[in-house]
Symmetry: C2
Subunit: 272 residues, 2 copies
C-alpha cells in the first residue's frame, strides 16, 4: 500500500460519549471516527482514514483516545489543531498531534489500556458529576466490591463478560490491575488490562455492583469466569459511567502512578 509510506501522525483526543455512536465508523456517520475522518479530509484536502486505539461503545467517554493518520501535507501542529477544532463538533477535542515512526500502531504498540468506571452512591444528585456516573441509590458494600474485583486480575477467558455479538477471535484477556477507591459518595473502579472485549468493563462493573448489593457472593467471580457464559454474569452497567482514561505506550504504569500523574496534570475540585 503506497499510503503506508506517507508520514504518520498520532492524535490524542478526548470526547463526551453522550454525543456519539461510539468510536467506530457507522453507516449513519455519527461515530467519533466518522467526524474525525471528515474533519481531517476537509483540512488536508484528501481522503483520510484513521486507526483508533480502542473501540469505545456508544455513550462511553474518552479522556485519552489515540488515533493515527497519514498524510504528505507538511506538519504544522498549531495550525492543524486550530483547524480541526473548527471542523469537529464541540464534544470532541484534540489535545495534540505529533509525528510518529511508521512502526507505531495505536493498538499493537499499546502496553495497556486503562478504563475508569464511576459510581455515585446515595439519594443525592450532583449535576456536575451525574453525566459521568452511575447512581446507585441502595446501600452498596464497597469493601465487598473491592474484594470481588481482585479475582478479575490475571489472564482469563472473559466470555462471560463479553457482549454475545462480539466478533473477537479470542476471549482471552489479561487484567493487570483493578483498583476500587471511594471518596465520599464517589466510587471509582479503575481497570488496567491488555485489551478489552465488547462491553467487558461494563459487564464486570454490573457484576461487581450485584456483589455490593448482596445479590452475589464476593467469592463468586471465579465460577462466573469459568462458566464462559454471558448469562452467568450480571447486567451491563450503563455507558455513562465509563471513561477510557489512558492508552499506555512504552511503559505500563500502575493505576496509582497514573492517578498521581493525572492529578499533577490537573485536578478539578468539585463540591462537596
Amino acid at each position: 500500500m503506497i499510503a503506508s509510506d506517507l508520514p504518520a501522525y498520532r492524535l490524542d483526543l478526548q470526547y463526551l460519549g453522550t454525543s456519539f455512536l461510539g468510536w467506530q465508523s457507522q453507516p449513519q456517520g455519527t461515530a467519533v471516527q466518522d467526524h474525525l475522518e471528515k474533519a481531517l479530509s476537509t483540512m488536508l484536502r484528501h481522503p483520510v482514514r484513521v486507526t483508533g486505539a480502542a473501540r469505545t461503545d456508544t455513550g462511553v467517554h474518552a479522556e485519552q483516545q489515540v488515533a493515527v493518520f497519514r498524510t504528505a501535507v507538511a506538519y504544522d501542529e498549531r495550525k492543524w489543531l486550530k483547524s480541526l477544532q473548527g471542523l469537529l463538533p464541540p464534544s470532541v477535542g484534540v489535545a495534540s498531534i505529533r509525528t510518529v515512526g511508521s512502526d507505531f500502531h495505536p493498538i499493537l504498540s499499546a502496553q495497556a489500556k486503562v478504563y475508569r468506571y464511576r459510581l455515585w452512591l446515595g439519594v443525592t444528585r450532583n449535576p456536575l458529576i451525574a453525566p459521568f456516573a452511575w447512581q446507585i441509590v441502595s446501600d452498596l458494600d464497597v469493601t465487598a466490591v473491592a474484594e470481588a474485583a481482585r479475582d478479575f486480575v490475571g489472564l482469563h477467558d472473559f466470555t462471560s463478560f463479553c457482549a454475545i455479538d462480539s466478533t473477537a477471535k479470542t476471549r482471552q484477556r489479561e487484567i493487570y490491575e483493578v483498583v476500587v477507591e471511594q471518596q465520599g459518595p464517589l466510587v471509582d473502579i479503575w481497570v488496567s488490562g491488555s485489551g478489552f472485549l465488547k462491553q467487558m468493563v461494563r459487564t464486570m462493573v454490573g457484576t461487581l455492583v450485584d456483589v455490593g448489593l448482596g445479590k452475589r457472593d464476593a467469592k463468586s467471580l471465579p465460577a462466573v469466569l469459568a462458566a464462559k457464559d454471558r448469562q452467568a454474569a450480571g447486567m451491563t452497567a450503563p455507558a455513562l459511567g465509563l471513561s477510557l482514561v489512558q492508552i499506555c505506550y512504552g511503559e505500563r504504569p500502575t493505576v496509582a502512578e497514573l492517578r498521581t500523574r493525572l492529578s499533577a496534570g490537573f485536578c478539578v475540585k468539585l463540591w462537596p
Copy 2:
C-alpha cells in the same frame, strides 16, 4: 410574620448554570429559585419561599449554593432528598438538608463567599472542561495576571467592576484573597470576599485578562478602582467560566485551606 416561627432548614445545592436564568426568581419561572420553590411547595404541600446566599447570574455554575426555607412538616432528610431529586430538573442537585437555628440567615450569617473563574489557554479544546472555562487562544501572561490581581485585595469601592444596572446601595466590598494558579492549560482565579456586586467577579476577570494579553499594565488596577466608572474596567468575562464554590459560615478559610478540603472531599482527574 408567623412563618418565621416555623422551623428553618438549610439546603446545600449545586447547579449547572447553563440550564437556568440565574439564581433569582424570574417572571418566566426558569431561575433556580423558581424551580426550587416549586419543588418544595409540591413536596411539602404548602407555598414555600427560599432565601439564597448568593444571586448567581445566568450561566454561572454553583458547586455550593445555600438556601433556607421554613416548614412545619416533620423533618426527614432522606425522604426529602429523594423527593426533591424527583421534582427538580437534572441540572440542579441537593447535597443535604439540615435543621438550622432561627437566627441563621444565608446572607447575613456568611463570613465569606468564594468564587472560582476558570480559563483554558491555547488552541486545543477539552470537551470535558470547555463547558466550565473561558478559552483564551492568544498568549496570556499569567504572571502579569497574578501580579495585577493582588491590587483587588482589601476594602474598595467596586463601582468600576459593577454592572451599571446594579441596585446595590453601597459599592464597597472587601476582597480577602485572590489566588491565581496554573496547571498546564488550565488557569483558576479564586476570589474570596465579603460579598460581590452584580457581574463583579466577571468584570475583574475580564480586566485581568486584558492585563495578561498586554492591553493594560499590570499596575493599572488601582487607577481603574479609583475611577469609579464601569467604562474604566475591561469586558465582562463570559458566565460559563464562573462557579460559586463556597459560602463560608462560622469560619473564613483561606483559598489554600478550601482547596485542600475540597480535594480531600473528592477530586476528578481529567486528561491530559
